[in-house]
Symmetry: D2
Subunit: 424 residues, 4 copies
């Protein structure tokens, strides 16, 4: 008789009878995970009891992991509530964040508190499109030009092919790029409430078959890195990927002084020297202080793809001292004071390529789904896409709060001491 | 009498008697978290029972989160074992990974399996230095030049100041950059087994006081973005941050064909068109396929800073077909076949700025500490720094496995179908 | 009586009676230039006799310079002839180049000679569009979204406004970008045989007035740097500016060995390590060896805008060893040898943003017009735009020749000695 | 008898008796150039009489061109004089510029005039080092680490080898970079008054031989693109190449209003939206308006390498409104008005990699040498390097003037109309 208990299964792997990734073929997922823990514990002397003390049936994680041994537990907190006036988001929201970065939630919460007292933030998704960019081999530039011309003339046929594979996705555009004997086609889709990488990969593969059938081009890879997924690429920073979203707020000068203990001018100066000029000198694609902290923590809490933090955190933070009553059309837009001697602060964070979804992937896991419930954004929105839009807008407001708080702290020289108090 | 039970505490917050971040002042951390869950559940109708079912005392998370409500649970698995011949790492290792990206561990495991059959990978940390770069204001370039000259002449004094704040950190260098009336000083430290951001922030703040005392420069922000933390910046890609680490392997042609179902030439071609030329055309700082997937999953499992995935995933993947017996000194280094008609594959991943630690921060959390035990790298190494070096080397080998597997899949046109089988 | 001879005019400037830029108001252009030389000679002890010995009436330079004192004389040579099979260019061409870089023309000529023996190069313009991107101020992202929506809905009206200012230019597209309270609109035009910067500036200014009239946006600057003119920007490298053009050639292995004294494999390896991997590590937007040398020298000779060399030289050079009879559709595209033991070399240069014209600007100056006559491309083409297309294609072939020659020299370790022989 | 007159020589080339680059072997340089013109005129119907009407003996151009046919004549003018208070430059200077960009000199001259009235500009060279970065092949990262360690331990031996080839150059540093099985060594030299590319190529080649002799590394190319020459690379923008130089000025508010017809706040806002935020969004390495115009024109006039404009024009322009009496140490650095209601403008241009020389290369040509005489900087300086330093500082002041003038024009909406008046 063949053992199917954790210890027996571990024996069988050690005996070479089974391979470590085949355990699920011989036991239910939880037992397989326990067997794998047992095996690893034997071979490494680690004690995996906390890793094994997870709070969901392993079966629910089957589509998100292989070789499961349990779960990593990342502390989760909430910040807010904050009023958001968005294109999709509306009203007051708590934002759940999971992180191991001490002082982060305190910092974001301080920023949100100031935003709340300034009557909330505006936010808008200004572009939307999940991309996949296959690379094709041709014989040379003559064939490349021929291929590009065919693609430009046959976007409708490509759309039909691509959309035949999906009930939700819509092909928005196909952009063409030629480098020597390589042709890159960047397909952009509206994937509604799904982050959509798998959807667009499958759809694009179908479209690629049409390209191969009708042109001299031969597919080399369904991703040719002009997508660009999980790499910090200017093409995303410029043209966007997923949602391009901006959040902004005008903070009355009085609040800047009383709550952030600085001035609009000082915070704007710090932003310019650090986030604009400093990042320029660093050859950076990121012109912000720590947008990644908020994006990563919100991604973890809500089941987004952690590796996409790389490009999702791409942000430009702008801050300016504003005359209280200035019209934007005024030619004389001086930075003048209010009657109380203060100047208002305009602050904005613009994220170029925030890839988020409220359906599929990690969003279905229990703790992540609960976090989406906190936001009221679990599952598909009505209209389709509105939940993901709203999630993007709220994360952007969170990032804005983080920027405000850190910039204020920096310009007040409090960063290191805050870490001393709250950090490790 | 004042309520200190979760429900009563939640009432008090709702009544405006307490603020949400003050709960820990009135109850133990677990009760405070429960009260906060209760409050959020009331206000949002979310059910946070799984978030609340965490497997560690909330007290242990106090230095890593504020406003705690529980934990995000991310499925964790293991890949390997794989033999690593590193500068610090040695022998066979399992690598724990936490992710919600279906098919990822299967892919990495396939790559590691091939590396194992090729007798393992080499790995080396080739640079090491955690950086912090304050920005100072001066009156103009005349004062900037004066400041830079003083810094260049007084590195020893700066070292003494900086190191007075830390028992472990060592100041390695101070690089100077001038832009108009801003002076940026990039301090680089050996932080041993700590990732070290807080350590270097505190040390640099101390050094900044000396700069302010001795030069006309005035500190604007302890981070001026030339560090560059949590932003994708060329300065990190070029000069490194944390560990610069490379892993590589030579895979016999026979293994490439039998196990990866492709050829060295085909995989090298795919790598060139996608990871080199494609990324070049995309204006990218990341010349790889999906190093971020492995870095993010290993970071989550082992308690690293998730937001640093932004720059930690910065990698260049190189692949080339190699004549089996080629001497690297040969001037005629043709890609010729072995007698069996196959050609070997050389594959490498070079990560420029992998910030890792085995002490402090999230590494102390229970599931994360257990994951470090799987690697045998929990806590400080002997010599100091060797555990963090080894962790960097093993993550690099994991990234290499991921690149091999995905490139092979792409060149075999299997990407989308793999996701169909294993994904969502 | 008021002096109008050079000496007298110089006196008057020195006496404060005239300002140095007002001399043309008091004398013909040549006399004014002489007076200015006289003045500068007096004040600096320089002898400007050669500068003053220019070969054209100063009047002809009036639209290209102010405060003229004469001319810089840059040695001009020719390379070629080379057969080009382009979308617009056809047949054999000499390429005039003006430079002070010793060994450059010899190098390019060697490359062209090999291309000629390989039956010439292919070339194609794969994109065309001169851009201007004004930046507008809005009150915040809510207004930004409103502005962007209006622009997207009113491209026809913008086209009408823009094209009302020009008899040749055609508006192709308007792309929108939002960063906080700034809105950038990138207008792209077909400017036919003109490089077109002034044309598109004037047309865009007209369109901006419509945007200001119909939206809350207020113009800050007619160029907001997303154009991007005379800066090395990824937006140009990715999306193109002016002409995106590729030239390529397949060189039989025998020629590679006999004429370039290397092998296809060796030159491809050098290209990968230097132009792809090296540039990747350098955080570069230029993945080539020295395309700028050819672009700059051809620009000088033919009257293009020298400052645009910055982005016009943006190029990716790709080189690969190719099996002589390989079909590009073959799944087994091994790098195999011909029967004579050699492997062919495929070489390509792809320039993303080559801004060229054959009418207007410096093309009207005498030596520059003569150089365009050498190419047979002076003035407007038939159809309109074909002369500028052909010029772009021929410059791309020149750049390809330069890359081939230098890569061959590098892989043969001849660079420094070539400079010793031919250089300074 | 063999013909040696131009017509006869042209016949011989057409008959296949001579090759076009061999003419100098059979006639003096001027006759050879005439023969070449004759040949090209016959084959293309171009009339090259103006190209042939150059003002110097062809012999003087022998080290700067091959296949000479004559000269391109580019209109040259002067701007200034302007007082410069530099590390090397001192006193009033005219700056010669050669360009075909109408309105450019008028614009720069306007800026210089304002700078002059503001008592001149400061300027400083803050870094200096000409670089060459060979790439070596090793077997893998184990050998790479070994090579890097050897280099770090043997900088003195490398210096001795490198400096054995040059009487002027001094090796400053060797930085090491590893990517897979490629090792890049970036050698930086003080080349004094020479731009120095050839000097450092020869010196580095010598050092490479030592590396090859003592380590397992094998040279692939003496330039591995981390130099980085004639490509827009972050490594230059961050670490510098040639001279890193900044020029700045404080312009009293009254002058800003009367002479530039704008305000400090308006020009600072335009600079931030365009040069900082706009360039950030464009994925640019150039954070300026048109520094390349000034750099290119000054390079042409003074015999610099035109292709190096690519990186030499890399600049960050910063502008800020400044309280007249503000101390830089003040924590309350508000942008307040003077008593006359105006605010001062601080403006700076920081060029990261300005490669210039006053000896060698094109500086020896007659018109270029005369232009250097206008600056008083022809030939070697005392101390060595001071002439090139001064040239860098003066060009930086010219670029600053160009930025001031264009930003003022943009913020006054005058760009397009200026071009209409002065342009084509």
């Amino acid at each position: 008789m063949t053992a199917t208990d954790p210890d027996g299964l571990a024996d069988r792997v050690q005996d070479g009878d089974l391979r470590i990734h085949e355990l699920e073929d011989h036991a239910d997922p939880d037992t397989a995970a326990e067997a794998r823990r047992t095996l690893v514990e034997r071979e490494t002397d680690a004690d995996l009891s906390t890793v094994g003390d997870y709070a969901f049936p392993a079966e629910q994680a089957e589509s998100t992991i292989e070789n499961m041994i349990g779960a990593a537990q990342i502390p989760m907190g909430v910040v807010g509530p904050v009023p958001v006036s968005g294109g999709a988001a509306d009203g007051e929201h708590y934002l759940p964040m999971a992180t191991t970065e001490g002082a982060l939630l305190a910092s974001v919460n301080r920023g949100l508190s100031v935003i709340r007292d300034a009557d909330g933030a505006d936010a808008r998704v200004t572009k939307n499109g999940m991309t996949r960019a296959p690379v094709f081999r041709v014989d040379g530039v003559a064939e490349a030009a021929e291929t590009v011309e065919w693609v430009d003339d046959n976007v409708d046929a490509l759309r039909e092919a691509a959309e035949s594979t999906t009930s939700h996705g819509e092909l928005l555009a196909v952009d063409t790029y030629v480098v020597g004997d390589s042709v890159y086609l960047r397909f952009a889709y509206d994937t509604k409430d799904a982050m959509g990488m798998n959807m667009v990969t499958i759809a694009t593969r179908e479209a690629c078959e049409l390209v191969e059938a009708e042109t001299p081009a031969s597919l080399v890879a369904v991703s040719g890195n002009l997508c660009s997924d999980k790499k910090p690429a200017a093409i995303n920073a410029v043209e966007g990927r997923g949602r391009s979203v901006t959040a902004d707020v005008v903070i009355p000068g009085e609040l800047v002084e009383e709550r952030l203990h600085t001035t609009a001018e000082a915070i704007a100066e710090a932003n310019t020297r650090k986030n604009l000029t400093g990042s320029a000198k660093a050859g950076s694609l990121g012109f912000n202080a720590h947008a990644a902290n908020v994006v990563a923590a919100a991604f973890l809490a809500t089941g987004q793809d952690e590796a996409q933090v790389v490009e999702a955190a791409n942000a430009i933070t702008t801050m300016e001292a504003r005359e209280a009553t200035a019209s934007p059309r005024s030619d004389e837009r001086r930075s003048r004071e209010r009657e109380d001697g203060t100047t208002d602060l305009y602050a904005a964070v613009s994220l170029a390529s925030l890839e988020v979804g409220t359906v599929g992937g990690g969003t279905k896991l229990p703790t992540q789904a609960e976090a989406l419930d906190v936001l009221g954004l679990r599952g598909g929105g009505d209209p389709a896409g509105s939940n993901a839009d709203a999630l993007a807008e709220i994360i952007a407001v969170g990032a804005l709060a983080g920027e405000l708080s850190l910039l204020a702290a920096l310009s007040s020289r409090h960063l290191a001491s805050a870490h001393e108090d709250l950090g490790r």
